[in-house]
C-alpha cells in the first residue's frame, strides 16, 4: 500500500516505512544504538530529499530518546546538571548545523557531505564495535575503568569555569561538556542521528564517568537536542514530514517492545559482532558511491 508524504511530495510503500521504524526501534532496544544511522541513508535511498530525511528522523529520535531516558532516569542513571550543560553546547551545535545544512544545500555539496560523514561515522563505530565484540568473545577482560591519561587531566584542570557535578562525582571545566555537546548537536542536525555512539565513549574516556551514567545522561541530552533540532528544521525550512514521522514513530514503538522482549535471548557479543559487520557493509556501500566513478556524472536539483 502506498502512502503519500505531503511535505516530500511523493508516495512511499507504507509497510516499508513501518518496517524501517520497527528495525530502528528494535536495534535501539537491543543495542542501545538509536538506529538513525540506518534510517536516514535508507530514507534518502528511497528518494526522499536529504533535508526532509534528516529533519524527520530527528523528530523520531525525540520520541525514542524520551522513552529510553525516562527508563534510565527512573533507575537514577541521569545526571541532569551535566546533561543540561552538554545541551548548552549541543544547542549551539544544532543551530550551526542547521545553518550549515542550508548553505551546503545551496552550493550543491550536501549529499557529498552527508555521505562523507556517514562513511566516517559508520566506519569508526563498525570497526570499534567489531574489535570490542571480538575481544569479549575471546574472554579477555575489558578494561572498563581505564584511568584518564595524565596530560589530559592536566589540560582540563587548567581550563577556566570549573564546575562540580555531584551526581557524576566530577569536578570539571564547563568547556569540556560544552564541546562534547557541540559535536553531538552538529551530528543531530547534519546527519539525523543522536550521536550516542560518540557521546557515551567521550563521557567515559574524556570525563571519566561510569558507563551507566554516561548512557543515561547522553540519552537525556539527545532528547533535548533532537527536540530543539526538529523545531529548528521544521520552522526554518518546513522539512519535517509529519506523515513520515508518525509512521516511523509507530514502527519504532513496536520495535522497542519487540527488542525488549528479545534482548534476553540475544547473546550480547555475538549479536554486536553481527551488527558491526552490518555497519561496515553499509559504510562500504556508501564509500563506493563516493570513491567509484558514478554511472551518471550529472545530478539535478530543484532551486
Amino acid at each position: 500500500m502506498q502512502i503519500y508524504l505531503p511535505i516530500a511530495e511523493m508516495s512511499v510503500p507504507l509497510e516499508l516505512i513501518l518496517g524501517l521504524g520497527t528495525v530502528v526501534g528494535f536495534l535501539s532496544a537491543v543495542f542501545g544504538i538509536g538506529g538513525g544511522f540506518l534510517a536516514t541513508p535508507f530514507l534518502i535511498f528511497l528518494g526522499i530529499p536529504p533535508s526532509i530525511a534528516v529533519a524527520t528522523q530527528a523528530n523520531q529520535l525525540v520520541s525514542a530518546s524520551l522513552t529510553s531516558s525516562l527508563g534510565h532516569w527512573r533507575r537514577g542513571n541521569v545526571d541532569i546538571k551535566l546533561g543540561a550543560s552538554m545541551f548548552l553546547g549541543s544547542a549551539a551545535g544544532s543551530l550551526i548545523g542547521v545553518l550549515l545544512f542550508g548553505f551546503l544545500k545551496h552550493i550543491g555539496q550536501i549529499d557529498t557531505v552527508i555521505n562523507l560523514l556517514y562513511v566516517g561515522v559508520l566506519g569508526s563505530i563498525g570497526v570499534m564495535m567489531f574489535l570490542e565484540s571480538l575481544r569479549t568473545l575471546r574472554h579477555s577482560p575489558t578494561a572498563d575503568a581505564r584511568p584518564l591519561p595524565k596530560w589530559w587531566l592536566e589540560f582540563i584542570n587548567k581550563l577556566p569555569a570549573q564546575r562540580v557535578f555531584p551526581k557524576s562525582k566530577l569536578q570539571i571545566s564547563l568547556f569540556v561538556p560544552l564541546s562534547i555537546g557541540f559535536l553531538g548537536g552538529l551530528m543531530v542536525s547534519l546527519m539525523g542521528i543522536g550521536g550516542g555512539f560518540f557521546l557515551v565513549p567521550a563521557m567515559i574516556y574524556l570525563l571519566g564517568m561510569s558507563t551507566l551514567l554516561a548512557v543515561g545522561t547522553s540519552l537525556f541530552q539527545i532528547f533535548l537536542t533532537t527536540a530543539l533540532t526538529t523545531l529548528l528544521h521544521a520552522t526554518a525550512t518546513s522539512s519535517v514530514d509529519l506523515v513520515l514521522a508518525v509512521l516511523l514513530i509507530l514502527g519504532g514503538i513496536v520495535g522497542v517492545k519487540l527488542g525488549l522482549r528479545a534482548s534476553p535471548y540475544i547473546r550480547g557479543a555475538k549479536a554486536r559482532l553481527v551488527l558491526s559487520v552490518m555497519l561496515i557493509l553499509v559504510c562500504l556501500h556508501l564509500a563506493q558511491k563516493l570513491f567509484l566513478m558514478p554511472p551518471d556524472l550529472y545530478m539535478i536539483q530543484e532551486r
Partner: protein, 239 residues
Amino acid sequence: MRSIFLLTTLILFCAPSASAQDVSSIILDVAQEQVSITAGFDGAKVVVFGTASPQDQITITLKGPPRNMIVRRKKNILGMWLNAVSQEFRNIPSYYSYAISSPDFKVKVGLDALDLPGAESVSSLQQRDFQDALVRNLQAQNLYATDAVPVLRPGGNLFRAEFNLPHNTPIGAFTLEATAYRENVIIGRTQRVMRVIQTGVTGQIQNFALDYSFAYALSGLIIALMAGLGSFFLSRRDV
C-alpha cells in the same frame, strides 16, 4: 461514466459550431480539470479528448508548472566524486509528456522541441551535455516522457489520449496544448489548464506546514513527546 457523458455533450454541442466557423478546427477538453492528491495517491491518469477533422494530424503536449533546476556535474577531486560545475535552467516544465496521432508523423513535439533556456556561461557543446543530463535525470524520475503517447481516433471527429502522472508529480497548474496539422501546416491550436493539488488530510498538513511553520514544528514535537511517553508507560514492565 461522467467523462462519457461529457464527451457526448461535447460532440452534440460542437458538431454544428465546427462547421459554422472554420476557426475552431480543433477542440480540446480534459476529463478532470483537477487531479486531487490524497493520502493513498500513487499516480494518476489524465484523460484528454476533443474533436478535429479525421484527415488532420494531432499533437498534444502536457507540461507541468515551470521550475528552476540546477544540473551539477561531478568531478574527481582527491579521489572523491564531488559536484563541481553546475548550470541553472530557468522556468523549465517540471513535467513533460506528449501525444501524437500517428507514430510516423514527424513533427517537432518531442523532447527535441523543448526550449530549455540555460545560462550563457558554458560553451554550447557543454550546454548540450547539461541539457541532455537534465532530460535524462527527469526521465529517470518519470517526470519526462521517453516515448510519445498515442492519440486515439475512435471515429468521426473524436480524438482521445491518456497521460500518466507519476506518484512524485509536481503540484500546480499544468498546461495542455493540442495542435492540428493539415499537410504539415498548423491549422489550429488550443490550450487548457489542469491543476494538481493536495486535498484532504495531506493537503491540510502541507498548508499548515507552509502557513504556520512554528505551530507545525511544535505539533510535530508534541506528537513525538506523547509517543515517547506512551511507549515508556507501555513497556515499563519490560524496561
